[in-house]
Symmetry: C2
Subunit: 340 residues, 2 copies
DNA sequence: TGAAATACCGGAAACGTTTGGTATATAGCA
DNA sequence: TGCTATATACCAAACGTTTCCGGTATTTCA
């Protein structure tokens, strides 16, 4: 009996035209309230929902946005997604998620696969293995796109970032105030503005306090857990730093392991802090001092900006939004353990 | 100049019909290799990709699947998603992700919003706040759907679960072998088969060793962090258990906090183990003994089953797939700290 | 050699919606 | 009264594919 319930069926049953039904469903001013109500009632009764493919084909709107990120199995990005979804739901949009696994080629492949009208807009946090902004120069002219956290600079769209330089400066001063003189730097995202800003903030704070930033006290992040561990252990045993500034969550585990294996006591022998959104940072042994980014808010803000673009409001003077991170002092830098 | 590049454009430029182009692109046997090559070459040169809306409208295939889960900011689900995506990519499918936040109403709302042809199939891990399988009884007749981890029973589709009963039994024996006599049970997912199986396994092992399972030693999970902490603290101080079996990752933090605040030493005063996919479990203070589910494999297997359904192969005798979890012994149950 | 099978290609309808143009009826106004 | 504006609704053409149906040319085989 029923068959699929579509607009034609509604029109037939109400004895009005297809066009009228469509306009009624979209609450057009051309349709009388009386007719609208008849349509809405029947639509509800028959449990009608418009076919997205047809609607999209005709109107060129998908009610879908894409999120392209390195990983989803990561506290920062998980929270950011949550922030994005909140806004998307609000607008009745669906969210497509793509993981690049830090591979720029994948990133570009995914993005390209979205240019045929599969989505209305894109939110992206770029891969760290390359810095290649030319691609995006052209891309932003083809589709609404907003960068968050890991951004390319000087591209004509919104970017949502955090105060990497300032918070790194502040965190470095915290290490110094805690008595560190020889601070190692675990360098992540070195090709991206975020990674560089973190290092600059560290550098500036060191210099401001008359401390040296030595090449030998730097470990660069590699996509190889064992190598990272090895490099950190080598650094620790050869140069005995009394402090560690980790610019990436991924360094935490190898750093703790290195200390354990080298029998270094945290924070007595060495103080540690790290960028991180790990909710269990407070339960590490000892609890870890972190620089925590407002991940949820970043996602939220990014999505809002994307919808500004989708609604054809041009980019205002709020093109580059910077949110504040937090320095949460815990036992790994000798701070009182407060379990917060 | 270019305009949008579509199938008509290709046909025009190659001086062949639209039908031929379409068939060539889909590698139909009706088209000669020579023609196919001409089409493929030009398509590549012009960077053509088919319009998904049009294709979907006509063919009733979206090349998209949906994943409906309680949270993405969770190690287990993050990994499961990764497993799902691997398979999806392989088939050229896109993945839509929905978070229910443990709310069955949302779960149903999302699911309903997908029934109008937005996706070809659904992978779902149901919310824990309710057990209401009637809805799904009807649903599986309308759209291909596969359950993973948190499943409803006796529904005519694939389910991917783990050996909750057996591994819980085994873990409980580990606690007992480590000297525990009075073991508290932190009860999660109580309304779902998974949660119940975990408890049954625990119960059976206790009984098999002549130990009592007391109501007073059970804390039920509530969606309120403070309440959970309070309940655990009350349990610990009023009944002094010497072991804790946590059936949910979410109990870990309050449990550790409770021990710290009550000055209970782990594992001397109390031994702890928990279901968890936390990668930092080994770095907790002390490192945490976990039951770890093969999250990636679960997602992987679930997606494979969904594609079996999509390819119209009926459900075989592998309808209920059960994967093995691992018990990883660490310091929180008195095991040698091995950092693995 | 002739009939049947095969290989290759095109015409045109269909998928379910949106939308610009048009038509009718009514109201407003001079 | 006649003329314009407004409210309401319909017609038909799109959107870009896929696919059924057919048609011709070529091959196969008895």
């Amino acid at each position: 009996m029923s068959g699929e319930v579509n607009i034609k069926r509604l029109a037939l049953e109400l004895n009005i035209s297809i066009a009228t039904v469509s306009k009624a469903l979209n609450d057009s001013h051309e349709i009388s309230l009386k007719t609208k109500n008849r349509v809405w009632d029947l639509a509800k009764a028959l449990n009608y929902t418009p076919n997205p493919a047809a609607s999209n084909l005709r109107s060129n709107k998908t009610k879908t946005i894409a999120v392209i990120i390195p990983f989803v199995a990561n506290n920062f990005f998980s929270l950011a997604i949550k922030g994005i979804e909140e806004v998307a739901r609000q607008y009745g949009y669906h969210v497509l998620i793509y993981q690049t696994h830090e591979d720029t080629e994948m990133e570009i492949a995914f993005t390209n696969s979205l240019l045929n009208g599969r989505v209305d807009g894109i939110l992206t946090s770029v891969s760290s293995n390359e810095y290649n902004s030319e691609y995006y120069q052209k891309l932003v002219k083809k589709i609404p796109l907003v960068f968050f956290d890991r951004v390319y600079e000087n591209i004509d769209t919104y970017t949502i970032t955090t105060d990497d330089y300032e918070i790194s400066y502040q965190a470095t001063e915290h290490l110094i105030a805690s008595g560190c003189q020889k601070i190692a730097y675990l360098y992540g995202l070195e090709k991206l503005p975020a990674g560089r800003a973190r290092f600059s903030g560290f550098e500036a704070a060191m210099r401001a306090h008359g401390l040296e930033v030595s090449e030998q006290l730097i470990v660069n992040y590699r996509d190889d857990e064992d190598l990272n561990l090895k490099n950190i252990k080598t650094l620790f045993s050869e140069h005995q730093p009394d402090g560690v500034f980790s610019s990436m969550e991924e360094f935490i585990i190898p750093t703790y392991v290195a200390c354990q294996e080298l029998k270094l006591n945290i924070p007595e022998d060495i103080k540690i802090l790290s960028f991180s959104n790990l909710s269990s940072a407070k339960l590490l042994n000892p609890s870890l001092t972190t620089i925590t980014q407002p991940a949820f808010e970043i996602g939220n803000e990014a999505a809002k900006c994307l919808f500004k673009l989708l609604n054809k409001r041009g980019i205002g003077d709020d093109q580059n939004i910077v949110l504040k991170s937090m320095l949460i002092k815990r036992a790994s830098t000798g701070h009182e353990a407060t379990l917060c």
